[in-house]
Symmetry: C4
Subunit: 191 residues, 4 copies
């Protein structure tokens, strides 16, 4: 099975997720600067989520570039990833409506954490399909970054019940971890 | 006629259907765990629908891989399928608003059942275009699975008026029937 | 300039238009059959619009298959077409909210009529770019069907102020006119 | 890295942005012509935004046609551009809700101005990746048009607090500046 349509479908879903999040945001209640200021936290949450989905798209792009064959297991692991990413607009809206309540903040972590698990499952399914000696297998290696991210989400979820802003800080931390470009795959492909 | 643009259009519509369903869901009324718990049934309906649309995408992907030529009849059979799938977000919203009323539960079955009919029409149109000896014709065969699915929907629709949860169980049954990967086409292509 | 990205963008916009129309529809007010029956007219308007957008996609698909070169004028004529099609979900929602008021019914005709003009402009721009002797030029010919459609819309718009259902009948007539598959391009390509 | 998937993702996001703007618009309050007339300003804002996004798509199309290689920096500059364009539906809705309040009018300018900056960053990143002697570098040159646009937005934002319609006029001016087709890249490619 070739990767073309899976890439196209993933691009489609991610393009929609990244764009409709903004449909979920309530606009300022009136035309004043104060009303805009009130909306700043949720707009920052939007920025955070946009970067997150952008990162997934970027990494997915890199991952699939090194992939030549996929099978049914890869398709389902990828759908699992897309499922959790599709919930991002939902939790953002809840965050907005409940003004960053602890439960919604924790739910945001659950959704992002499960997406991280889904990405990791997709990687593993691609490696299982392409073989331990494939470019992806060598590039991903032990996938320390992926494991650290999941660990941070595991911490951030209970943290939301004690101090929401701590867990939001942890979500930002994961982003920073990934914004450092992942040169592993590019390097392996070139080397 | 080549299959490229029909695949792209189908991918686009399915990517949107699968993603906007979540726009239709109401978020929990407040930031409490109880409010989240109240939303669990509709979230499960979302999971169910996500898997259903995912299955259609997966099977469509397999079907088109074995297809080399299409004609106007295939395009319209495919649009018929997409029409019914586009109604999935609508019935989900209704299920949510009417808290799984019998009529909405039956409507969900009508939509999924008609989508199953649409998929079957698309298969038949592809076979009519490619010939009885084509890879698709041999792979699909008598399409027992498709016929059983439609039969289950025919049972599930009246069942909703007696006991909603029975028909929801039948919808889950169809999913389980299809989650067993459909290796027929892959096998025929390889053999 | 090649046609690839214009096709991809058009597919994207049409896939979204055809899918989000359903987001605009209000679900039945409760879970009763009576509430569903009340929604039948707008659901029929949805079916009508789905077929219309499907027809545009189908014809666009055929048109671009016969096209090898495009230029800036084609891109803008195509954007003009997409603009009017993007308003279809808006007028449908208005039709729904105003329960098929004469003005909204006329507006629906304006939107569809302008889309028909846009399609005709796109055809002409493609012919201007490819030359009078190109496959498209010979296939489209005098484009009688396109001209008749626009004429019907010109009649249907004022008719809405006298009798809405007459203009809706005229909209259905245009669809029937086009559902007869447009074999001109296919025939010219083969011949 | 090839350009295919970045083009596909950008097409997806732009197709969605251009289409969902209309979801944000409130339909006329009733079926009267007066109610429609009341909606004319926001419909014109929609036309303006549609042309703006259409221009970005057009220019992006031209730019990428001259591009053969991209890197991570191009991907992120492009995501920055898409981020600001994704906010267009949000500010349009705010413009509508606050009936063109000065702050919302200024915010519209901020969003469009930052998108212009994002486009310019994408151009620079492509040139940095392809080299000073690449087709894009020669075609874009000093990018006077891009710089003038950003300058006009810088003027239009404070102008909104004095006279909203002046800044809207300035937004229209930028569009007119770009509607004159940008033949630089095509000419350089041919020459």
């Amino acid at each position: 099975m070739k990767t073309g349509r899976m890439e196209a479908f993933t691009d489609g879903v991610l393009a929609i997720v990244i764009t409709i999040m903004v449909l979920e945001l309530k606009v300022p209640v009136d035309g004043s600067l104060a009303a805009l200021a009130e909306r700043v936290p949720i707009l920052l949450a939007y920025v955070l989520s946009f970067i997150n989905v952008g990162l997934y798209w970027n990494n997915h792009h890199h991952l699939l570039q090194a992939t030549t064959r996929i099978d049914g297991r890869v398709l389902w692991a990828n759908l699992f990833l897309l499922f959790w990413l599709s919930l991002v607009p939902f939790v953002i809206r809840w965050l907005d409506d409940s003004t960053f309540s602890p439960v919604a903040t924790a739910a945001y972590g659950v959704v992002l954490g499960m997406a991280a698990v889904g990405y990791s499952l997709t990687e593993q399914a691609i490696i299982a399909c392409g073989g331990r000696e494939s470019a992806v297998a060598r590039a991903v290696g032990a996938d320390l970054k992926g494991k650290i991210s999941i660990a941070i989400y595991v911490l951030a979820i209970p943290a939301a019940f004690i101090l929401q802003w701590l867990s939001i800080l942890l979500y930002v931390l994961v982003i920073l971890l990934w914004l450092v470009p992942d040169r592993r795959i590019e390097r392996t492909l070139e080397g």
